[in-house]
Symmetry: C4
Subunit: 277 residues, 4 copies
């Protein structure tokens, strides 16, 4: 299909569905947002026995109406887009597909409530609607800060996983030694590692706790070590965001002679070619 | 009412009630602070059965004395202010009104203890008294830092709400699979979302915990993902406050001779070319 | 007592007890540190029934030896110091006094184990010994950062206390409404405020948790609001410490002409009098 | 052994085992990573009764295969290295040794499952393999930031330990006073210190909680104090990382003409006077 020979209604459809700068496009996005929230709300409430008993049919109806709307929307997106396959295989294309497909398949697997997780993924489509609220730039600053700190986060997570395993194993042994009188809740090393994750992240459910004196001592040490460890990632993101703020001090002037960029705001000469800015 | 024809006692009343730079105004604010704290303390203690039994009438008396004082104060504020309606409909005007109104209405609704929440809102009036302690500037710096980070916080909360919903749904499904032997505490998706909020914010009550091995594994993953996620907002506010601090010490003066910027606020000569600023 | 007529042994004693730059002074500090830790350890272990049964007399002996040592030390400090009263009424003077006095008084009040808290305060003396490890400068940077953020912290604590009271009152009312079937753990408003503090600081014991659906919803909201609120103080201290680091960029040069200080490290002219540095 | 007379196969072996820039060296590292993770996984799963029952022999086999591989690897490292003793006594040399030695010794001590902690230490070898993923620089930045904040962290931990002891002792006394009706969970001061650590780090298991009204009040105060205290270390690392970032982009070049400093690293002309740097 040649770009210039596309039917005008397709162009218009594309603008409504994919952009948010026309009145129609904005209404489309708001409608979509409502449909997503309604359908996810229905999925959630369906699992509450008392609500399901009373409003069950209504919730099923909402779910089906939204499913059909999402199906129509998906077909319209496929039609209006220039390269349907590229869209279908893109991140949002797949999210769009699994936001209605499981509802058709679920009844064949016994229960209409199946695939709740997969169906909840349709919430990810909300991110696309964010452009409506001029939030795109904010999201980008955040995403960039997290992305630039990614290799530090990987190193950090490796450190955490190793610490958690060693701490879990240590507690398993320690609690076994003193558990002649009391029953240890550290029944296995995986259970102890679960405890270590819950403890070091300061979640602290309390479903697995040390019962012996030695176990409590080791536990207090693990908490303090873990605490010192876990404060580190906050530093990363802070540093990245502070840096992002400071680079706002770099002007967006371009040297008229050598086209160099990235000058400090108070620079009077090009730092590249030495000519006045 | 013409501005210049206002009675002098009204001007004086206005100064005492709304300002804190006269001796009388300061005493008024201190008295108000004491009355607010006393009355809120009375409301709280009234709900403790053992205290209510012994000091019940005293607490009711305190509450009624404060209510009448607040009523008189409200009338005085209405009288002393230039535009009574504007004040009555302002944020503090409404707070002032609901700090005594519910006490009069409550008895009609059966119990004198009703509307405790609404009555607790009178605590917000404490913020107005802060000007007494020269805290206004501090509050403003804080409020500005939070305000400037607002759209980042909205984006962040959206991400959190979506993550929490998907994580909750996932745990609901995971715990159902393995709950043949043990009774799952993830009885519905809303309950699971409650668990996800409690877990990802590292509150971790422990009233809802995974019982199955797979549930514990997914739980540990959710904790680690949630942890990485939740550290982000600290970064925002840090970055904003660091920025607020930096721009504080540097003036926006430019040297008229060499155009250098970034001088300290107390500089009188250019730090670059030595000419007077 | 004239400054120049003090006995030399007093001067020497003063150097040993109050300074850490002589060999004898260092040994004195190390001995003191050991005595403090030993005696606090003894106080703690005395309360464990099984240890008390077996090692009781030994622990009492350690406590008494340390008490006598602290008494002698206190007398020596009084003797060696120029103005005994000024020392006796200073912060460390009082701490030194209450580190041995309660041990003499306790037996008169029935139990030798009384005043455990007061006796634990002797741990504060450890801070004085820090100068031994060249930690004084670090302590000061920290203390300064916290001190400079003090009024922000006061504002923040006020906000927290008000939020906690309103959130606690709200939960008390909400849980009462739905507690027809289940017994609410929010028995009174003070109990609910305790819950709000435990929840908003993400401690989350789990001894008081919402039982009703509405309670869980409000609880999740309170957690999210509280979480957004509580991240703020981290920002303060970060900002202060970042600022402390940056001001290391200010040179300690003094203008030879006007004695002005606080020039940026890259300044070539005095920002005060314009003469070259 | 003279450096120049080493056999070429030894040089090659050294390159494969200790470096990651040849194809063979990369495969060696990946193989090692797989063996470490497999063997630690086996150790963990062996302690789960249901898994041990079914796959016990397989897990023992995996453990033994990995042990023999680690033994061979250790011998090869000893052979390929120039100074075997220096390697054997280095940090990684010891880690390498204890990654297989306990497996040979354990059966003599009754159970093959003994020394699980010691064996889990082999996970630390993962850090060596990090060079494979170009993570070394990131680790160094992190390690440097933590290292530079070390004396602040020591001061902080001292403050925490002292606060935790005093808070624990206080709660022990407070809960004893009011525990006429209810049984206090603060059975001894060490138990109370364990509570204080769990509380102040916001872990909050909930296995030890105050039962009396006064205990809850003191607890809320301890939480708020502890919270204000514990936010400090985040500030350290943030400040260090922010500083590390800032000094990265600015060169320490000085303009030879106007002495201006603080040029960006890629500047070739002075941003102040326009002369070449």
């Amino acid at each position: 299909m040649e770009p210039n020979t596309r039917a005008p209604w397709r162009e218009k459809l594309h603008t409504i569905i994919f952009e948010a700068d026309t009145r129609a496009g904005q209404w489309f996005d708001i409608g979509l947002l409502v449909a997503i929230l309604l359908s996810v709300g229905a999925i959630c409430l369906e699992t509450v026995p008392s609500i399901e008993k009373e409003y069950g049919p209504t919730l099923v109806l909402i779910e089906w109406v939204c499913t059909i709307l999402f199906t129509i929307e998906y077909v319209l997106r496929l039609v209006s887009v220039r390269r349907p396959w590229k869209y279908a295989l893109s991140f949002y294309g797949i999210i769009d597909l699994i936001s209605f497909l499981p509802s058709y398949i679920a009844p064949w697997f016994g229960s209409a409530k199946s695939f709740a997780v997969v169906r909840a993924f349709r919430l990810l489509r909300v991110f696309r609607i964010m452009k409506l609220f001029h939030m795109t730039r904010e999201s980008e600053v955040l995403a960039t800060a997290v992305w630039r700190a990614r290799s530090k986060i990987v190193v950090f997570l490796t450190v955490v996983l190793i610490t958690v395993t060693i701490a879990g194993t240590a507690m398993y042994e320690v609690e076994r030694i003193g558990s002649a009188e009391v029953t240890s809740q550290f029944t296995s090393i995986p259970q102890s590692i679960y405890w270590a994750v819950v403890t070091m992240t300061t979640v602290g459910y309390g479903d697995v706790v040390p019962k012996t004196a030695l176990g409590k001592l080791v536990s207090a040490l693990v908490i303090l070590i873990g605490y010192s460890l876990i404060i580190v990632p906050t530093g990363f993101v802070s540093a990245e965001l502070v840096d992002a703020k400071r680079t706002q001090n770099v002007s967006n002037q371009t040297c008229p002679y050598c086209m160099a960029e990235g000058h400090l705001k108070d620079a009077t000469y090009c730092r590249r070619c030495g000519k006045p800015l």
